[in-house]
Amino acid sequence: MSLSRDQIAQRVARELEDGYYVNLGIGIPTLVANYVPDGMEVMLQSENGLLGMGQFPTEAEIDADMINAGKQTVTTVTGASIFSSAESFAMIRGGHVDLTVLGAFEVDQNGNIASYMIPGKLIKGMGGAMDLVAGADNIIVTMTHASKHGESKLLEKCTLPLTGVSCIKKVITDLALLEIKDGAFHLLERAPGISVEEIVEKTAGKLVVPDNVPEMAF
């Protein structure tokens, strides 16, 4: 069965390491915070100027001056710091964030990503996504493997305007975990009960399948 949003987040969480500074995008990436392994500490960076984002506030704690990059009201963890947008993107652009997790519309076999704009529909803007993909060495994209209409989102070449070029090395979809290198997707793990054939069928870009593709366990 294909992974739920929470299972995707759970699988992403296994990529965390103790002491990581992590930026989580809106949507599935946000859920990763719920699955940090016991005994491991990670610190969440929010690009509006917060390092050490905590959980949502209680009604009593709510404060209009304390929000995250998704404009949600949040709290801080012990040891947090708050700073300007310029400082925040100095951290991001300068490669100081250890891991960035974000969603995408499309990813291609050369590590290009399209995630901010669908021509013809409203142009909402890239926010911090372009800075995040340009600044991080370690980026995980979470997305569904194919659209509702069954069209692959793992392409030979992105069709939508790009957010970044040659920057994505790892993709976790509802069907599989894949690495991008040498101009191809490399299938590393498959979702429980999902066949290699289904993944092959739903991957439009070049896909390298090893002899043994372990199933994820939850």
């Binding site: 690009e47 409203l122 142009i123 372009m130 600044g135």
Partner: protein, 233 residues
């Protein structure tokens, strides 16, 4: 104004000199830390053909969004404008221009503008629509875009507390773009929740130095929340 006292008595005084066609740099992220009083004053003045540099354009009926109602804005330079139906309408009708700029590049353009740096290089946006028409250049084997800095005729910012000299501190994440915006205006207007006497703020804790601030005004703030998310107590 005597010496370094930057306090003005009214928003009329604060925005004096703002004219049609000018460029305004605004602090704030979403509806957080926005200069509510200056925005209201600009609406009241009815100034037209404005270019506004701000990460977002508010929402329908609040924040910079209210300047769209009377078509006061000619152009927005922003990173994210997706919370505003009137914005969309005017954009699609060709009544509004938008220059989408990555958030980090936007913050750095403001800082560079205030710091006398006319341009800088960044990897952000290389190979994307943001790179169109821009020079690229390789450093240490990687390609970078040249981005030019931004300055404004006016900057409108919101801080928490400031002394009469304009030395200011911000409250929590309401800091965001405000410190950079404050440096990038030919005339910088700062509105604050509380004005204190010089000496009340610790010199080492000041986040915007008074040298950047031309006019200081005590405001009142609605502080509308865009996405109210809570957990059980």
């Amino acid at each position: 104004m005597a010496g370094f006292d930057k306090v003005v008595a009214s928003y009329d005084d604060a925005l004096k000199g703002l004219e049609d066609g000018m460029t305004i740099i605004a602090g704030g992220f979403g509806l957080c830390g926005i200069p509510e009083g200056s925005i209201a004053q600009i609406k009241k003045m009815g100034t037209k053909d404005l270019t506004i540099v701000s990460n977002n354009c508010g929402v329908d009926g609040f924040g910079l969004g209210i300047l769209l109602e009377d078509r006061q804005v000619k152009k927005m330079i922003s990173s994210y404008v997706g919370e505003n139906a009137l914005f969309e309408q005017q954009l699609l009708a060709g009544e509004l221009e938008v220059e989408l700029t990555p958030q980090g590049t936007l913050a750095e353009k403001m800082r560079a503008g205030g710091a006398g740096i006319p341009a800088f290089f960044t990897a952000t946006g290389v190979g994307t629509p943001v790179a169109e028409g821009k020079e690229t250049r390789e450093f240490n084997g990687r390609e970078y875009l040249m981005e030019e800095s931004i300055t404004g005729d006016f900057a409108i910012v919101k801080a928490w507390k400031a002394d009469r000299y304009g030395n200011a501190i911000y409250r929590h994440t309401a800091m965001n773009f405000n410190p950079m915006a404050a440096t990038a205006g030919k005339i910088t207007i700062m509105e604050v929740e509380e004005i204190v006497e010089p000496g009340e703020l610790n010199p080492s804790e000041i986040q915007t130095q008074g040298i950047y601030v031309d006019r200081l005004i005590q405001g009142t703030f609605e502080k509308r929340i865009e996405k109210r998310t809570t957990r059980e107590a």
